[in-house]
């Protein structure tokens, strides 16, 4: 018994040693391997940096009310994506309440979210998903119908404007949004998935990568194209299309295209492990490449193609980590560029690194890739996939044809939307092709064995005491500063279980919301009035007095917080001074003319009086003479 144990131990150590040697032979020596703990620490430090940048506390929300005012903008949506993909607890309900209002409001305009940028729909869809919401029901139209950001922003976008009106980004992010929950495209829609895929791949450049324009590939755009195409890496389908850059006819699978793009990215990687875009070495390009690599299940720290001088992509990105925990765009200081301070963290680099860390962390834990927002795979499904993967990795040239066919059947019995998680399928596919197995035929004959996912439980929401206190302590009068808070409370109230005073609270909150919207309308109206009535300044005359006084009076009625939202109030003061000066001049003129008139009359009277007096004296004198 003891001997067997010894033999077993010896055997295990030999195997271990062998694997270590094999790894050393296969992989370049890496300077440092980042553990899950280290990745989580990097993420936590970014979150804490942003909280302090936001003037929130370490225990407070990153998505505090000041931040939530930005929901629906490029500055307001990427941090939620990073937080959500880490399952970091923050104010998800608050974000969803505010974004719903913002979307509804923007849907009131003819162009809805944007006339040209479909990526507005994509970014908001992803952040809504990350916060646990549903982009296919994001607020309602006036008639009560749901707003569907996925339909309007992806497969039906073409009904209003081409998805790619803004360029390749529109197609790429459209596909990412469409596949975020593997949404089905209904019949009669404008675009099919293949339409969008074709629009992306025909923009590939001759060096294998992608760019916004021109013929030289850019790491960010190349990486984003891979992120979008990654769910189709295993598909055996071949596309025939005309390449845009040289109008050559091409026939390629998505796998061919991604493999070429990876070669292109590998060539672009610099000695430190990072990348340069637009001539500047920076954090964000490296971030996008990491997300792309993870989306294909390629080990981000071990793959030879992305290790330079022993530096991995993670070494490349950590270069940009600042002492305060945030990240910086570039270490190169440009004297004329105040945003390039070489030691000041900035939001764009930090938010991109945050979700990049989520992508790495998800890889380390065998979770879904960054932009796959479906519920995590069930334990049973994970096991099915990992068994298949280990069987594929142990294929040798001695594996029999029937065994290969069996593995293919295992693969095609997985539902199509899960197949991209068999990250080493390409090996199976290549061997099968070498053995002249008809993969497509076999795939068609194989029935899909669906996975019974775990069902979500229903969690009741309660409008708790602290919520009720928050309602009663709303300030009076309200200002637009309370908008986010009121919208959050109202949304929570509407989702909450019934209680006695629910209707009373609803009325208070609805009134508060209407009051705040009225203030916002007043602010907008004053701003428009200033723009329309006060310029050009040299045309201002006394006739404008009523308008100017009206603006000043309305401004004075606003709270200090709301008053700050009046743009260029100094111009109003300037105009008011000018008009008041005119008025004063008129008054002075009138008064002076009056004084002159009175003086003239007085002098005239005086002269007449004196003359009369003189004549009187003369007459008396004459009388005296006559008497004599």
């Amino acid at each position: 018994m003891k001997k067997t144990k010894q033999i077993l131990c010896g055997l295990i150590s030999i195997i271990l040693l062998f694997t270590i040697i094999m790894q050393a032979v296969c992989a370049q020596p890496v300077k440092h391997l980042y553990s899950e703990q280290e990745i989580l620490k990097v993420a936590e430090d970014i979150i804490n940096w942003k909280k302090s940048d936001n003037k929130s506390s370490v225990n407070g929300y990153l998505l505090n009310d000041a931040f939530l005012e930005l929901a629906g903008t490029t500055a307001g949506d990427w941090f939620p994506i990073g937080l959500g993909r880490f399952a970091y607890q923050d104010d998800e309900e608050g974000y969803l309440a505010v974004i719903k209002e913002a979307v509804q409001k923007r849907y009131g305009q003819a162009e809805k979210l944007s006339a040209a940028k479909a990526t507005e729909w994509h970014r908001i869809s992803l952040s809504v998903l990350a916060m646990g919401g549903d982009p296919t029901h994001c607020g309602t139209y006036k008639d009560g119908n749901s707003i569907n950001l996925i339909a309007d922003g992806t497969y039906n976008r073409g009904k209003t404007a081409p998805l790619g009106k803004q360029g390749i980004n529109g197609w790429i992010w459209g596909l990412i949004a469409l596949d975020s929950m593997r949404y089905e495209i209904p019949k009669g829609s404008f675009y099919s998935r293949d339409d969008i895929i074709t629009e992306i791949i025909k923009r590939q450049l001759s060096d294998g990568g992608f760019a916004l324009s021109g013929k030289v590939s850019d790491p960010d755009v190349t990486a984003m194209a891979i992120q979008a195409l990654s769910p189709y890496y295993n598909a055996e389908k071949s596309y025939t299309y005309n390449q845009k850059s040289d109008n050559k006819q091409m026939q390629k699978s998505v796998r061919n295209i991604i493999d070429e793009a990876l070669v292109c990215l590998s060539k672009m990687q610099l000695a430190d492990g990072d990348f340069a875009s637009w001539g500047t070495q920076n954090a964000e390009s490296t971030a996008q490449v990491i997300v792309a690599i993870c989306s294909l299940g390629i080990d981000v720290q071990q793959d030879n193609r992305f290790i330079k001088n022993g530096n991995t992509l993670l070494d490349g990105i950590m270069k940009y980590r600042m002492k305060d925990g945030g990240f910086i765009h570039s270490l190169a200081y440009q004297a004329d560029n105040p945003t390039s301070l070489p030691n000041k963290s900035n939001s764009m680099a930090s938010e991109q690194v945050l979700y990049t860390m989520a992508a790495v962390w998800r890889q380390q834990n065998g979770m879904r890739i960054l932009y796959d927002f479906r519920a995590e795979q069930s334990t049973a499904l994970r096991k099915r996939i990992s068994n298949l993967k280990s069987k594929i990795s142990s294929i040798t040239n001695k594996t029999s044809k029937s065994d290969i066919e069996k593995l293919l059947k295992d693969y095609y019995s997985l539902s199509e939307s899960e197949r991209n998680y068999v990250f080493n399928y390409v090996k199976l596919s290549d061997v099968a092709k070498g053995l002249e197995i008809n993969i497509l035929q076999l795939a068609n004959k194989t029935a899909v064995i669906p996975d019974k996912g775990e069902e979500d439980g229903y969690l009741p929401v309660y409008f708790i005491l602290s919520d009720r206190i928050a309602v009663s302590s709303l300030p009076k009068p309200l200002t637009t500063k309370q908008y986010v808070e009121v919208v959050k409370l109202l949304t929570k109230l509407e989702q909450s279980e019934n209680f006695d005073e629910k209707e009373t609270y609803r009325q208070i909150l609805l009134n508060a919301k209407n009051d705040i919207l009225a203030i916002q309308n007043e602010i907008d109206s004053i701003n428009a009035q200033v723009k329309n009535k006060l310029y050009p300044f040299d045309k201002i005359s006394l006739k404008d007095k009523a308008v100017v006084d009206d603006i000043v009076n309305r401004y004075k009625k606003l709270s200090e917080y709301d008053g700050q939202k009046i743009e260029r109030y100094e111009d109003v003061l300037k105009t008011k001074t000018k008009v008041d000066n005119y008025l004063r001049a008129v008054i002075i003129t009138v008064v002076l003319i009056l004084v002159v008139s009175i003086l003239l009359i007085l002098v005239a009277l005086h002269i007449r009086k004196r003359r009369t007096k003189k004549r009187h004296e003369m007459e008396q004198l004459e009388k005296l003479y006559e008497d004599e």
């Binding site: 006339a115 004329d336 050009p536 003061l573 004063r584 003129t589």
Partner: protein, 184 residues
């Protein structure tokens, strides 16, 4: 007799004042209402707004914008105009002043609403980013150079010449070399 002369003297004085104008102001008021007056001593900058590149790419322009109202036939939305440089004025301040004074439409995204931390000009004279193809939008030069950062972060100095230009090709068609060098 003496009193009369005094009164007449006063009348003459008042009439003189009236002829001279009764626009009497305090120093502060004078400063406030004359802040934009150009004299030999004031610091000034120049600004112009042009969209010549659209004329060369007219077929790419959104159809609803294909009108002289939005794209003047000479491409000039605002000819070179001189403005007083107030302390701390940025490129954005001068643009905002010039469009307000000339009643030209302009829409921007506030500095806190994007991750660059600078104001982003979305549209001028109803011409927006992407209105004329996927590589189109507004960009600016100061003294012939394209700064690669936001207009609300560029603080101006006396004599600076700002040119707002619409590009249909990520800046290359208006001579932006730092954007073009890699991809050309």
């Amino acid at each position: 007799m003496k009193k009369d002369f005094l009164a007449i003297g006063l009348i003459v004085l008042i009439i003189a004042v009236l002829i001279n104008g009764t626009h009497i102001q305090s120093v502060d008021e004078y400063y406030l209402t004359h802040i934009d007056d150009i004299t030999t001593e004031t610091d000034t900058v120049f600004v112009s707004i042009r969209c010549d590149t659209i004329l060369e790419n007219y077929e790419d322009l959104s159809s609803e914008l294909q009108s002289k109202e939005f794209v003047p036939t000479d491409g000039v939305i605002l000819a070179k105009t001189e403005y007083v440089l107030r302390p701390g004025d940025t490129v954005f301040d001068i643009l905002d002043r010039s469009v307000r004074y000339n009643k030209i439409h302009m829409e921007y995204q506030g500095a806190n609403a994007n991750s660059f931390g600078s104001i982003y000009i979305k549209g001028i004279n109803h011409l927006y980013e992407f209105s004329c193809g996927p590589l189109s939008g507004w960009t600016y030069k100061v003294n012939g150079v394209f700064p690669n950062y936001g207009c609300s972060k560029y603080t101006l100095k006396d004599g600076d010449v700002i040119e707002w230009v619409y590009t249909c090709d990520l800046g290359r068609d208006v001579g932006n070399r730092w954007m073009g060098e890699k991809a050309s």
